[in-house]
């Protein structure tokens, strides 16, 4: 048959950075997503640069300046924009430093839970058979527990005040925050990873029927290679959206643990703990509860809207 000249060349492919820039450009078309992104960026910015901001020491307790309402100055004429808490600590500073604490632990917990969930999901979905039965069974067991009960059981059983926790802090000399933090991560992994696994498994079940997977099998690739290189990168679209939502839930969970005094140990500012600190003062503690509550909801709202926006633009063309 006759020769074919090469088909006409299309424009050169955009490189990594340019592609990223283009995707951000696309996000501009979704107002909802844009709004979410702004909220999230705000908190991320605060969390990263909080040291450089002209804030007071979040741990410094000012005598005689307890529970000031917002926009009041204390005796030393220091302005407390958001007032102070029951120990005379500056709310604004605590809130901002709290952002760092919350974001650090929630992102870390989400990453860990996600990695484990992805490995479970991709294995169950791709290997199928016994792998799938066992992984799905384990996942279902954890999902069958009410989430909050699961968290409470894990934290009270292994928390800082448990035998194990005491041993870890006293004998091993581990930092209390570290112990509580890892525990939070473990608890969240147990409750979140099965959900992630379920989503990943669904996506993989669809992807694994594609010809490029057959092509990889035909050239004798190992299952590990196929799962990591051929399958997971193609699941990233829906997973990025899901990760945004999931991060929101994790933030709420961490706040909830803090609220139940099961979270990070004092005196580090933790939004959930801040709310519960205010709660014991009843109506008088309203100012103490208002700000952290607003912070949590704005961050979670931002993540949800961002996820919506990402989904919207990924559905278009």
């Amino acid at each position: 048959m006759s020769d074919v000249t090469a088909e006409t060349a299309a424009p050169a492919p955009p490189t990594g950075l340019k592609r990223l820039w283009k995707s951000i450009g696309l996000l501009r078309e979704s107002y909802v997503g844009m709004f979410g992104a702004v909220l999230v960026c705000f908190w991320v910015f605060i969390a990263v640069f909080v040291d450089l901001l002209p804030l007071q020491d979040p741990l410094a307790q000012t005598r005689g300046a307890q529970m000031l309402p917002m926009l009041t100055a204390d005796a030393k004429d220091v302005m407390h924009w958001m007032g102070t808490d029951d120990r005379g600590r500056d709310m604004l500073a605590r809130l901002m430093y709290g952002a760092r604490v919350v974001l650090f632990w929630s992102v870390l917990a989400t990453v860990v839970a996600y990695s484990i969930g992805m490995i479970m999901g991709v294995t169950a979905g791709y290997r199928g058979g016994w792998w799938d039965e066992i992984i799905s069974f384990i996942g279902n067991v954890f999902l069958a527990f009410p989430q909050i009960v699961l968290l409470l059981v894990i934290i009270t059983a292994f928390g800082p005040s448990s035998q194990l926790g005491i041993w870890m802090t006293n004998e091993l000399g581990l930092d209390k925050t570290l112990v509580s933090g890892s525990l939070i991560i473990i608890a969240i992994t147990f409750s979140t990873a099965p959900q992630v696994a379920r989503i990943v498994r669904g996506i993989v079940l669809d992807l694994k029927t594609r010809d490029y997977i057959a092509a990889a099998e035909v050239r004798g690739e190992s299952p590990l290679y196929i799962m990591l290189v051929e399958l997971l990168p193609n699941a990233r679209g829906p997973l990025i959206v899901d990760a945004c939502l999931r991060l929101g839930y994790v933030i709420i969970t961490i706040a909830l643990l803090g609220f139940l005094s099961l979270g990070l140990p004092p005196p580090d500012p933790d939004w959930g703990k801040m709310i519960s600190d205010g709660r014991q003062w009843g109506y008088n503690g309203l100012n103490m509860m208002l700000w952290p509550a607003l912070a949590i909801s704005s961050l979670v709202l931002g993540l949800n809207l961002l996820a919506d926006g990402l989904r919207e633009i990924s559905l278009r063309d």
Binding site: M1, S2, V4, A10, D211, Y212, A215, V218, E230
Partner: protein
């Protein structure tokens, strides 16, 4: 006029499109999907629309249904149904017309059926809604209609859910549903593309006489010229949003005038000719995107008869063909082209010496175990059942040979490929590659060399490459894996060589798969398969998902490489016409068994196995001069879970002789030369069969590469030998010069010298952009700016913009002003317009 129920005027077209233009509005601006489309459908007439995917066929259908989605709109022309412009009708009126007076059948039957409703309910609903008749009456009529679309056992079908019947039956139900309301116009958009060949043949048989039996006019959309020939009276050939040729089927098939139409015909295989007598000629290049169409003739950049200064000057219009009433064509040169000279030349039949036997398949058997959890199975204790995917495969393939494996979906072709590749192991028998048993060797136990010597080209171009990795890295991975390339540098070099081999530009190595067209992806797939030292390549329907004009190029490439490298090619396909063009031997499979095998010539001439005979007659043929037998098979493929007793084909065989076929496995009959048929029919019955496909004045022996005229008199095709002689004596074809001139809008060049002057001018006039009255001299064709369609051009003209140079001078402020005036929702890259306008202005010298 023409109220519902009023008598139909014989001279009023049922549907008339006059200069219809349809655009979609997207991020990139206005996309003119269809431009100046003209079509008249008279009562009882069937009109075919043919063209490559993306040319706007479906858009026309959706516009007729007035289902344009929220980003599509008719932007010009008229669309008249029974003499009334549909654009002026109210939503209420349209609703009444849709579904009752115009019905549509889509490619996917399940798109029109509700999976959770009985077919009875869905059919009756149509009648009750439109005619308000009683339920019993509706049931009676529905059953009648199911009978009319030749569904066996209509009562049973009525009480089934859609998923309980087969795909072919579903499509018949959809057609019945569309016909129930007795529409004046039936639109069919690729109604058989999702079906198997023999099932398709049955549905086509039905569609063919819908017009006659029901008096319904029809618009039949397809990419398959053969199907249009079988079903339609007239045909419109579409290319890149325009009709390029229109006429009766006879006119267009015998005396096509447009180079694109001719290109389409030259790229499809026809029976009665083979690859030597009438080589397939692909159309080079690709369909331009709607907003990247060239100036002048849209086909220009791909046309062999392109003339600079003639074809790329102004927009072309459909012109009536002299001496042919009713035929029209959109080509300025149609009278000047000497088709006899431009005929594809016959090539010398190359003789290939086949080497030693490379592959032996001996009584290969593959059963899949399935666990049957149903209560019945549990009671009888038979919880494990077997799917007999391959029953007893027995054939050989030699070095450099192409063996085609033909059969419909579910016949076990892919299972066999999986066993070959080591993704499954055989249940019984042997598969021997170069003396080594591999049927029981899973892929992870095979050596890299063995894996590399057995490779595969996959069916679906959109799935064959991993979207996350670049083309180059995917090919390189194969090379490293097979140990062909030791290090990165060597792999890189080899990747480039492989890209050369499959005739893709080298910079494709850096591209992502989504930046490639279907044909290009398939080429990468071929490069990957030949990356190792492949001894056997299995190609599983490698071209069935591609457009016809690209198919030829890809099959050509595949066989070229295969012959050059003396690789054995197992070509899996359902399309016998393609197989005839490239196979040396053919194996016909049905329900996991080989029904017939032999050399290609022997398969395509009697004696046939009854199944092969049916398959051959099911292939649509785009040639008016060829007579073919119509054998329509009853029923559907049986399930391989419980295959029929005796002969596997007995449930559908039109030649079945009786009980013996149901009780005994037929014997394998030898007809010499390795031609074997599995059938109870007597030898003399088999040998006295008539050819399925009859050539005009067919006396000579068929099949052989005789350089006899294959087709209609004086048509562009055929007379291969004569053409070859003529070509030898002819000077080389005129080479086009200045090709780039055909695509001015694509140039990104900016005219720097003009910029300051333009800016100054704009600055001197603070009151917004420069506007002009309608110029006496010719206005520029603003549509050449991508993102400007006919609608936006009109608006721009109204605002006083007539020339590229005006737009080129817009400042940011001007753009804002213009944006306000255009009142166009959505973001358009106006800067881009400026750049383009500048380049265009420079070109036109204003």
């Amino acid at each position: 006029m023409a109220k519902q129920g009023a008598t139909v005027d014989k001279d009023t077209p049922v549907l008339e499109c006059k200069d219809l233009s349809i655009s979609y509005y997207t991020r990139a601006g206005e996309i003119p999907a269809v431009v100046d489309f003209n079509l008249k459908v008279m009562p009882g007439e069937a009109v075919g629309i043919v063209g490559e995917s993306g040319c706007g066929k479906s858009t026309v259908a959706l516009a007729i249904m007035q289902y344009m989605g929220k980003n599509g709109a008719i932007v010009g022309g008229e669309l008249k149904f029974m003499g009334r412009d549909m654009r002026t009708m109210s939503e209420e009126e349209l609703r009444n017309i849709r579904g009752s007076r115009i019905s549509m059948v889509y490619q996917e039957p399940m798109a029109s059926l509700n999976p959770s409703m009985l077919i009875r309910e869905q059919l009756n609903e149509v009648l009750i809604y439109h005619e308000g008749i009683s339920d019993e009456e509706a049931t009676r009529r529905s059953i009648e209609m199911l009978d009319a679309v030749r569904l066996p056992d209509p009562e049973r079908v009525m009480d089934s859910y859609p998923h309980q019947i087969s795909g072919g039956q579903q499509q018949r139900v959809v057609i019945a549903m569309a016909l129930l309301s007795n529409p004046q116009l039936l639109l069919l958009d690729e109604p058989t593309t999702a079906l198997d060949v023999t099932v398709e043949a049955g549905v086509v048989e039905l569609i063919k006489d819908i017009s006659k039996r029901f008096g319904t006019s029809m618009i039949y959309i397809s990419h398959n010229l053969g199907l249009i020939l079988e079903t339609c009276d007239k045909i419109a050939v579409m290319y890149s949003g325009e009709a390029v040729e229109f006429g009766t089927v006879k006119q267009v098939f015998d005396e096509m005038r447009h180079p694109y139409t001719r290109g389409l015909f030259n790229s499809i295989p026809l029976p009665g000719a083979d690859r030597h007598a009438r080589p397939l000629v692909p159309i080079r290049g690709q369909l331009p995107l709607p907003h990247e169409r060239p100036r002048g003739c849209n086909f220009g950049p791909r046309c062999d008869h392109f003339r600079d200064g003639l074809c790329n000057v102004h927009e072309l219009h459909m012109e009536p063909v002299k001496g042919q009433s009713g035929q029209s064509v959109r080509c300025v040169r149609y009278q000047d082209i000497d088709w006899d000279k431009a005929k594809p030349k016959a090539v010398e039949a190359e003789t290939i010496e086949f080497g030693p036997t490379v592959l032996q398949v001996k009584n290969m058997q593959k059963y899949y175990e399935v666990n049957d959890g149903s209560i019945g199975a549990l009671l009888t204790g038979k919880t494990t059942r077997y799917v007999k995917a391959n029953e007893k495969l027995d054939f050989e393939a030699r070095e450099a040979e192409t063996v085609a494996i033909v059969g419909e979906s579910g016949c076990g072709k892919s299972t066999f490929a999986k066993v070959m590749m080591g993704l499954e192991t055989a249940t019984g028998g042997e598969v021997i590659l170069n003396g080594k048993e591999i049927g029981n060797l899973p892929v992870n136990k095979r050596s890299p060399q063995l894996v590399g010597s057995l490779q595969m080209v996959f069916q679906n171009p959109f799935e064959t490459l991993n979207p996350s990795h670049s083309v180059g890295s995917q090919i390189a991975r194969v090379l490293r894996k097979f140990g062909v390339a030791k290090d990165k540098e060597e792999a890189r070099q080899k990747v480039l060589e492989l890209l050369d081999l499959v005739k893709l530009p080298r910079d494709f190595a850096r591209r992502r798969p989504r930046q490639l067209s279907g044909g290009q992806k398939q080429r990468v797939g071929i490069a990957r398969a030949f990356g190792g030292e492949a001894a056997v390549v299995v190609a599983d329907e490698p071209v069935s998902a591609l457009d016809v004009s690209v198919q030829a190029a890809v099959t050509g490439l595949l066989t070229d490489i295969q012959r050059k490298r003396r690789t054995t090619l197992l070509f899996i396909s359902h399309d016998l016409s393609v197989v005839r063009y490239l196979a040396d031997r053919v194996v016909v499979m049905y329900l996991g068994q080989i029904m017939e095998q032999g050399n290609t010539e022997d398969i395509f001439s009697p004696p046939y196995h009854p199944y092969t005979e049916a398959l051959l007659s099911a292939v649509p043929i785009a040639d008016t001069s060829i007579e073919k037998k119509h054998i329509v098979l009853e029923g559907d493929l049986p399930s391989p879970m419980n295959p029929p007793s005796g002969c596997p084909f007995q449930t559908r065989c039109p030649r079945k002789i009786g009980a013996i076929c149901e009780q005994q496995m037929p014997p394998l009959k030898e007809f010499g030369n390795g031609h074997r048929i599995l059938c109870h029919l007597d030898d003399d019955v088999l040998t006295s069969m008539e050819p399925v496909i009859a050539m005009p004045g067919d006396k000579a022996k068929r099949g052989k590469a005789s350089a006899k005229p294959a087709t209609a008199p004086s048509s562009g095709r055929a007379k291969a030998a004569a053409a070859a002689a003529a070509l030898a004596a002819m000077p080389a074809p005129v080479k086009e010069k200045a090709r780039p001139a055909a695509t001015p809008a694509r140039k990104k060049a900016v005219a720097p010298a003009r910029k300051p002057a333009a800016a100054k001018k704009a600055a001197a006039k603070p009151a917004g952009p420069v506007r002009l009255k309608k110029p006496e001299s010719k206005a520029d064709d603003l549509k050449l700016i991508s993102g400007v369609g006919p609608k936006l051009e009109q608006t721009l003209n109204k605002l006083g913009f007539w020339h590229f140079s005006q737009i080129a001078r817009w400042t940011k402020k001007d753009i804002a002003i213009v944006d306000d005036e255009l009142s166009f929702k959505g973001r358009i890259e106006r800067d881009n317009w400026l750049k383009q306008a500048k380049a265009l202005a420079k070109k036109s010298g204003r």
